[in-house]
Each structure stands twice: as structure tokens, then as C-alpha cells.
């Protein structure tokens, strides 16, 4: 999921949203100046964009759906019900975008030869607008997952969409996309032009100016976004719960934003003034910083969301806020579908605890693999045999001390069973993958993935 999402987010920002406006501008310049070499360069860059956006770009977008269906089926299923029309419109815009990409690239030579250059540039402009629209819609949905605004009261698409964080996030992503796209086009220019040629210097200078133009919006949007995030969080959770870890991340974000902007100014400035100085290796510095910024940005976004998958409505383990008291009273196993034990008895503690683990924890934690519970408890209690009373206390109150954790959605007996199972794990490591993959261990538990606990 993380890999697919990162590739998609990067391609979508750098190639689709930011780069099509640049090649359209380059085509326009070539046409205005009657410079065939510029047109040819713009065409070659577009070919690269075409290949990347119609394969990696389009498919990783679809891939986010595929993986979300595996990782958070109840989360994505619920989001689909809330955002049906948003996603439906997104789909129509997506179809238009892909069709425009194909028309723009595939008709380039034919339209240029038949003297319809102006119309072709027009297609480029429309394509640029649609690429941006696709992002504008999806940001509404992402922003909603961070802070649901007034959605819990109104349950309407409109209020969910225009949540408090929508505009700053869109501004940040737009400016970022435009800036980083400059780097990518720049990189492609190096690939398609020969060293020391006038064409390379001219086009590098041109792209550098484009990037410089976007620096000020980028700085402004960064500051705006950076300032809005904690307030949006406060709207979800008690201010006092904003933990040290968030504060730390928030500070790091500021540092990375500062470095990325600084590097961008340096490189773009150098490119605009002295394009001869630049080599392709130098470009990697701001490109990597940009990637780091984007990665960090998405991580903070993920973190801010916790402990919810949909703010105030559903926790990250798929338990709804409203069903929590029922599960805590009756027991999560009582109402579960894919478990071997529906009640905890003195004889089935370990087995029932394992069921509790699969249903309530395994959406995010493995036993001994990535983000493993064994490691978490070892960090807390060390190598000595863990104290069962302390663990029980931790499980019941972890959401107050670890505010990114959802509350334990089971009753006391189930907490005891979970502790018994975890204590056994400390001695006898049994590997359980996250719920969506656990058919490799036990088929009956698998589709706990789908029905909610």
C-alpha cells in the first residue's frame, strides 16, 4: 500500500499535474518563435510523460483502491458510501484526463502538420486543467479523512468535502506539484538534449523561471498548511492529546519544508542565471528533498488521522465509535464473525486471546513482524517476564497514554485473554501477518478483514 501510494502520489504530482502545463508552455513558445527544435523537445518530453502517466500513474491510482480494499475494507467501504458522488465525478474527470492525454500526445504530429497548432495547444491547456481537477477532488476526500469537519452532524457530501483543511492542503499540493514538475521536466530535458547545446540551456533556463514563479505560492501554501494542521487535529481530539510525537513531527515538517524550498530556490536560481553550471547529478538534491518532503507530508497526514480511519466515526481497526460501548460490554468476540471462540472460558484463554488479537489488533500490528506487538511490549517492559496486571491496565487505557491508539474494543475477560496470548508470544514467537494476509495461517479468520469485528 505504502509503495503503491507513494509512487502514485509522486507521479500524480510531478508528472500529471505539474508537467503537462510546462510542456504545453514549451509547445506554445516553440510555435510563437517558429522554433521547430523546441517543438520536437516538447514532443519528446510529452512522450515520456505519456508512457509514465498512462502506465504507472493510472494503474497506481487504481492500485490504491485495490490495496485499500485489502487493508481497510470497512474504512474504504464506508468512505465510498459517503463520497459516492465525489468519486463518481472523480471517475468522469479521470476518464476525460486520460482521453485528453492520449489525444494530446497521439495527435501532436498530425495536427502540427495540418496547421492546427493553436487547437493542439488548446488541448494541452484543457488537459492541464483536468489534471488539476482530478487532484482537487481527491484532496477533498483525503482532507475529510484527516478532519471530518461538520460531517458527523450533517452527513452531507458538501460539508465533508469542504472540511477545514481542504483549501490549505490543495494549495500546498498544487504549488508543490508545479515546482517538482519543473525538476522532472528538467531531468527529461537532460535526457533528450545534448550537452552544451543552446537548446538545453534555453529550455533549462525556461523551466527554471517556471519554478521560480512557483516559489512564492509554495512558501505561502506551506506556511498556511503548517499552521492549519494542529487546529484541525484539535477539532478532532482534545488539544491536550496532541502528543510529543506529533509536535516533533510538526517541527521536522517545518525543517524539511525550509530545506526543500531553499534547495529549490538555489537550483532554480542557478538554472535561470547560469544554466551551464548544472549537471543532472545536482538535480537529484532538490528532487530527493522534494520526495522526502512529500513522504513526510503524507506520513504526517496518516499520523494526524489516527486513531481514526474516518474521523469521529471509525477507528483504524475498523470499530465504529458508536458500537464501541456494545463491544466493550458484550465482548468483541461475541459479535465477531470469523473467530474460533465467541466467549472466553478458563480453558480457551490462549485461543480466544489469539482471536482477540486478530480481530482488534492485526489491522495494524503483526505478532513478530512489522510493527510487532512483541517489540512494542518489549520497549515498555524489557526482557523480563511481562507483568500481566500492568499489561491489562495498559490495554484498557492505552488510548489515553498513546493517543494514536484506538480504545480496546472488548470486555475485561477478553483483555485478560489477550494478555495471556501476548505473554505466550513473548516466550513462543508465533508469526501472524496482518489480518488481510492471515489466510496463510488460518483460513477461518481471514475475512475478519471484511465484516468488521
Amino acid at each position: 500500500m505504502a509503495v503503491i501510494a507513494s509512487i502514485h502520489v509522486f507521479i500524480n504530482h510531478a508528472f500529471a499535474v505539474g508537467a503537462y502545463p510546462i510542456v504545453t508552455l514549451m509547445e506554445y513558445r516553440g510555435w510563437k518563435k517558429g522554433d521547430g527544435a523546441w517543438d520536437e523537445l516538447a514532443y519528446k518530453v510529452t512522450f515520456a510523460l505519456f508512457v509514465v502517466t498512462t502506465t504507472l500513474g493510472a494503474l497506481t491510482g487504481v492500485g490504491i483502491w485495490f490495496s485499500a480494499a485489502l487493508i481497510a475494507p470497512f474504512g474504504i467501504g464506508s468512505l465510498l458510501r459517503v463520497f459516492f458522488w465525489g468519486w463518481f465525478i472523480e471517475w468522469i474527470v479521470f476518464i476525460s484526463e486520460v482521453i485528453l492525454i492520449m489525444i494530446y500526445f497521439l495527435s501532436w504530429k498530425r495536427m502540427s502538420a495540418s496547421g492546427r497548432k493553436r487547437a493542439h495547444i488548446g488541448i494541452g491547456v484543457i488537459l492541464s486543467v483536468f489534471s488539476w481537477l482530478t487532484m482537487a477532488i481527491i484532496v477533498g476526500i483525503l482532507g475529510f479523512m484527516m478532519g471530518s469537519g461538520r460531517w458527523p452532524e450533517t452527513q452531507s457530501l458538501f460539508s465533508a468535502f469542504f472540511n477545514p483543511i481542504y483549501l490549505p492542503q490543495l494549495a500546498f499540493r498544487t504549488a508543490f506539484a508545479m515546482g517538482v514538475a519543473g525538476l522532472c521536466v528538467w531531468f527529461l530535458i537532460f535526457f533528450f538534449t545534448s550537452k552544451g547545446s543552446g537548446l538545453r540551456h534555453g529550455s533549462v533556463r525556461y523551466v527554471s523561471r517556471w519554478m521560480l514563479v512557483w516559489i512564492i505560492p509554495f512558501v505561502a501554501a506551506s506556511v498556511w498548511y503548517w499552521k492549519v494542521v494542529p487546529a484541525a487535529m484539535a477539532a478532532n481530539i482534545d488539544v491536550a492529546l496532541v502528543t510529543q510525537r506529533f509536535t516533533q513531527w510538526h517541527e521536522t515538517l517545518a525543517i524539511i519544508m525550509f530545506c526543500a524550498i531553499g534547495a529549490l530556490i538555489l537550483v532554480a536560481g542557478a538554472g535561470a542565471l547560469k544554466p551551464k553550471l548544472l549537471t543532472s547529478i545536482l538535480l537529484f538534491v532538490p528532487l530527493l528533498l522534494g520526495l522526502w518532503l512529500l513522504g513526510h507530508f503524507e506520513r504526517v497526514r496518516e499520523f494526524v488521522r489516527k486513531p481514526y480511519v474516518i474521523a469521529d466515526y471509525m477507528y483504524s481497526n475498523g470499530v465504529r465509535v458508536s458500537e464501541l460501548p456494545v463491544l466493550q460490554r458484550d465482548g468483541v468476540l461475541t459479535h465477531a464473525t470469523y473467530v474460533n471462540n465467541h466467549t472466553v472460558t478458563s480453558g480457551n484463554q490462549i485461543g480466544a486471546g489469539r482471536d482477540v488479537f486478530v480481530v482488534t489488533c492485526s489491522r495494524c500490528h503483526t505478532t513478530t513482524g512489522i510493527n510487532s506487538v512483541v517489540t512494542k511490549f518489549r520497549n515498555l517492559y524489557g526482557e523480563q517476564p511481562w507483568d500481566k496486571n500492568a499489561m491489562g491496565a495498559f490495554i484498557h487505557t492505552m488510548h489515553t497514554s498513546r493517543t494514536f491508539m484506538p480504545p480496546f474494543p472488548g470486555n475485561d475477560k477478553e483483555a485478560d485473554a489477550l494478555v495471556a496470548y501476548l505473554k505466550q508470544l513473548q516466550v513462543d514467537h508465533e508469526f501472524i501477518l496482518a489480518a488481510q494476509n492471515s489466510w496463510t495461517v488460518k483460513p477461518a479468520e481471514v475475512t475478519g478483514a471484511t465484516g468488521g469485528p
Partner: protein
């Protein structure tokens, strides 16, 4: 016959897990979503057919072209049609994916989860297939001579990938229909044993080639296609006849694959209406074959006059079969959907009743909520602090020695803790517990003594 089946369905469903549905209403009525699903799916599958069929035909004609060069030129022109069709296949697929995830949430996502790795591998496989198709298209005039074999190999790779991907989709679409077998399924390969995946795959592949044949008959047969530049050794009528033949023979083969698919369908979902619909579709398919044979036999001037009719009749076949496919899904899932609905409603009622108790101040049920006590609030601390032992933080005995007579000191610290000791992780802030609770817990901490119960815990620890 069908009365007996109903009894069988109920006994079969007894083995099926019954999860609860999501607790949110559908955004638009289920019936509308289902109509939307069938329409968007047919649009999607049309381009999937063209993508798969063209990549197969490209390879076949390129191989023929090794000994007869004009077919190499033809293969190249077929390959050019893939670029647009394959992208439309992907983007048009999002709509039906959206619809099916909404109307059949539980069934579709369960099937996805059960075939986990295979399901997610659709993404890299499609990316690879697309890249291979681009490579194949854009190296056609460069990889010639001794590189020609390599070029054919790239085309073959794309075609094979395009053939594998539908199998993964079919395994999911098929598996979602049989909840009674979910418990036995362990991943993608075992899911292939459920229902009748392979007859469906054969039927789909044959349909893909038939659709592509009919499309290419129109594509190359139209007068506006610039044969002179691209395919100088062919004329419009000849190409049209060639691809009519492809469509004809493959559709003829469907007279075998179609019944094979129908008779291997698990009987639970086969209803009278469905049978009538399928038979009607088959009758129209025979009319289609007749029309095609007339077109093939027509002379060069007249061929193509009935092209529009062949497309219309073929569309009718597709709509009949597509609707039949949907009816089968509906009838095999209806009983299970009802069980899910009942279970969801029951749980929803329990949830509402619980919230009414809470709102009335009665607590959730079993344990009536009393006010907070020092001991109850201390549960927030007990994960790390014990009376006379070090868990993940200093013991209460040690804390008592520091804060004796100073509960306010504890409250201050708990609201904004720092990090004093290198051996422990920093304590999280507890400002969200109000002052009353913090005072209760501070007093409790300063007065707590080791109880026999705690001694027991510590002896286990030792």
C-alpha cells in the same frame, strides 16, 4: 425442480459465514446501482475485450508475418489500436469497481481478501503488460532482422500477461458468489477450484477475439482508413472479410464454450428466467452467425453493407449475456444477502438500545458506572507504575518518597511531564484527565501500600 433447490440453498448456506454489513446507507438505491453496474461493466469489458483480443491477434499475425511480410505490416497496425483501447479499459474499469464495491461490499471485499496477493498483483501485472505493449509498438521498425525474435517475444509477453490478468479478476468475481466455500479457500490457487472459473475464462477469451474481429473488420474496412500509407498490399474488402472470418469462427466455437459455461455453473443460482435469457441470447448469437456468413460471402462491392447490423445484433447478444450474468449473481447471493441484512439489523438494534441506556444515565449495562475513585483513575497509570516494583517507570514507594505531602507536585508533573531518567521512555502527558481525577489519583498514589494481591503479582515476576 426449483423448490428442491431452495431447500438445498438453505442447507448449503448454513456453512457460510455471515458478516455484518457496513452501518451506512447506500448513497443511491441498490437497484439503481445495479443497473449502473451492468452498464458501466459492459462498457469496461468491451475495451478489455479489444485490448486482450488485439494483443493476441497482433502476436498471431506477427508470427504469420515472419514468412509473409505483409501480415507483419498488418500486425503492426493492429498493435497501434491497443494504445487507446487498453487505456480506456483501465479508466472505464473504475466505475464498475466503484459500483460493485458498494452493492456487494461484503462479498466483493471478502473475495479480494481471500485472494490477497493475487488480487494486489493485478496492478504490477497490468503495468508490466502496458509497458511491454508500448515497447512492442515503438520498437517495431527498430528491432528487425536478428532482433525480430526478441520483438515477437515482447509482444508474446504482453499477450500472456493480458491473458493472466482476467483470470485473477474472474477468480474474485466467481469466489464472491459462493460464501459457503470461503472458509475452505486458502489463497488464489485454491480459489480456482470454486465454481467454474476456467469455463468462464475460455468464454471470455473467445468473446475477446470475436469482439476484436468485428471491430477490426470495421476499422480496416472503412473507406477512410489510409491503406495506401500503412497497408499497401491489402484492400478494404479483403481485410474486412479476413476479420469477419475471425469473428465468425470464434463465435462458432462459442457454441461449445457457452454451453460448457452454463452446464458447469453451480446449480444454486440457476433460475428459469436466467435460462430463458441465456437461450434467447444464444438464439440471437445464431442470427449473428448467419448475418456474418452472408457478409463473408458477399462480393467485394457489397461486403460491409450490413456491418452496422452485425454490430447491433452482436450488441444484443452482449446485453443478454451481461444481464444473465447479473441475474445469476443476484439469485446465488440473495439468500446470503438476506442473512447479512438480518444480522446487521439485529446488531443495529442492540447498538441503539445501548446508546439509549447511556443517554438515560444507566451505564452500558452490566457494570453501572459509579463516579471516579483514586483506584479507578490509577488504571491509567498502572501500565507503567506499580506500588513496590519497577515496571516501566518508578514505583509508587519511590514516588511517595519524592512527593510526600505534595500531591500538587504530582498533578503538575502529570499535566506536563519531562524526561528525567535515561532508563525509561518519557511519560506521556495526562492533562486530558481533569483536575478532579488528577487529585484523586495523586492522593491515591501517596497513600497506596503494597497489597497481598500485588505481592502475588511480584512473586510471579520473580
Amino acid at each position: 425442480m426449483f423448490a428442491g433447490l431452495t431447500g438445498k440453498i438453505i442447507s448449503v448456506l448454513a456453512q457460510a459465514p455471515v458478516p455484518r454489513d457496513l452501518d451506512l446507507p447506500l448513497p443511491i438505491p441498490a437497484a439503481d446501482l445495479k443497473i449502473l453496474l451492468v452498464i458501466t461493466f459492459l462498457a469496461h469489458i468491451l475495451f478489455v475485450n479489444l485490448m486482450v483480443g488485439s494483443s493476441v491477434l497482433t502476436v498471431i499475425f506477427e508470427v504469420i508475418g515472419l514468412s509473409s511480410p505483409r501480415y507483419d505490416a498488418l500486425a503492426k497496425r493492429i498493435a497501434h489500436t491497443i494504445t487507446v483501447n487498453k487505456s480506456l479499459a483501465v479508466v472505464l474499469g473504475v466505475g464498475p469497481l466503484l459500483c460493485i464495491s458498494l452493492v456487494y461490499t461484503i462479498h466483493f471485499y471478502s473475495a479480494n481478501a481471500l485472494t490477497g496477493y493475487a488480487w494486489i498483483s493485478v496492478i504490477p501485472l497490468v503495468i508490466l503488460a502496458f509497458l511491454a505493449a508500448y515497447l512492442h509498438k515503438y520498437t517495431w521498425d527498430k528491432w528487425t532482422g536478428r532482433y525480430k525474435r526478441m520483438h515477437v517475444g515482447v509482444g508474446l509477453t504482453a499477450a500472456v500477461l493480458f491473458l493472466c490478468i482476467p483470470l485473477i479478476f474472474l477468480s474474485n468475481i466467481n469466489l464472491m458468489l459462493f460464501p459457503q466455500q470461503w472458509v475452505e479457500v486458502k489463497g488464489f490457487f485454491s480459489s480456482l477450484r470454486v465454481g467454474n472459473v476456467f469455463p468462464r475464462l475460455f468464454h471470455f477469451l473467445a468473446a475477446s477475439i470475436a469482439v476484436t474481429g468485428l471491430f477490426l473488420a470495421g476499422w480496416f474496412g472503412r473507406k477512410s482508413y489510409p491503406l495506401g500509407d500503412n497497408l499497401p498490399e491489402f484492400n478494404h474488402s479483403k481485410l474486412r472479410r479476413l476479420f469477419y472470418r475471425v469473428a465468425f469462427y470464434v463465435t462458432l466455437a462459442q457454441l461449445f464454450f457457452g454451453p460448457l459455461l452454463l452446464f458447469t455453473l453451480p446449480a444454486e443460482g440457476v433460475t428459469g428466467t436466467l435460462l430463458w435469457l441465456i437461450l434467447t441470447g444464444a438464439a440471437i448469437a445464431i442470427a449473428f452467425l448467419y448475418l456474418l456468413s452472408r457478409e463473408i460471402q458477399a462480393d467485394d462491392h457489397a461486403i460491409g453493407n450490413k456491418y452496422v447490423w452485425t454490430v447491433i445484433v452482436f450488441t444484443l447478444v452482449v446485453v443478454a449475456m451481461g444481464t444473465g450474468r447479473h441475474l445469476y449473481r443476484e439469485s446465488s447471493l440473495s439468500a446470503h444477502m438476506k442473512l447479512i441484512e438480518d444480522r446487521s439489523d439485529t446488531f443495529h438494534a442492540v447498538e441503539l438500545a445501548t446508546h439509549m441506556r447511556i443517554d438515560a444515565g444507566l451505564g452500558v449495562g452490566d457494570a453501572l458506572g459509579g463516579g471516579p475513585t483514586g483506584e479507578s483513575v490509577f488504571r491509567n497509570c498502572a501500565a507503567c507504575h506499580a506500588v513496590d516494583r519497577v515496571l516501566a517507570a518508578p514505583s509508587l514507594i519511590e514516588i511517595q518518597s519524592i512527593y510526600k505531602g505534595n500531591p500538587d507536585g504530582i498533578i503538575e508533573w502529570a499535566k506536563a511531564p519531562g524526561k528525567k531518567r535515561p532508563e525509561f521512555a518519557p511519560m506521556p502527558a495526562f492533562a486530558h484527565l481533569d483536575d478532579e481525577r488528577l487529585r484523586l489519583v495523586a492522593d491515591y498514589m501517596l497513600s497506596a501500600t503494597a497489597s497481598p494481591d500485588k505481592d502475588e503479582a511480584s512473586s510471579e515476576h520473580n
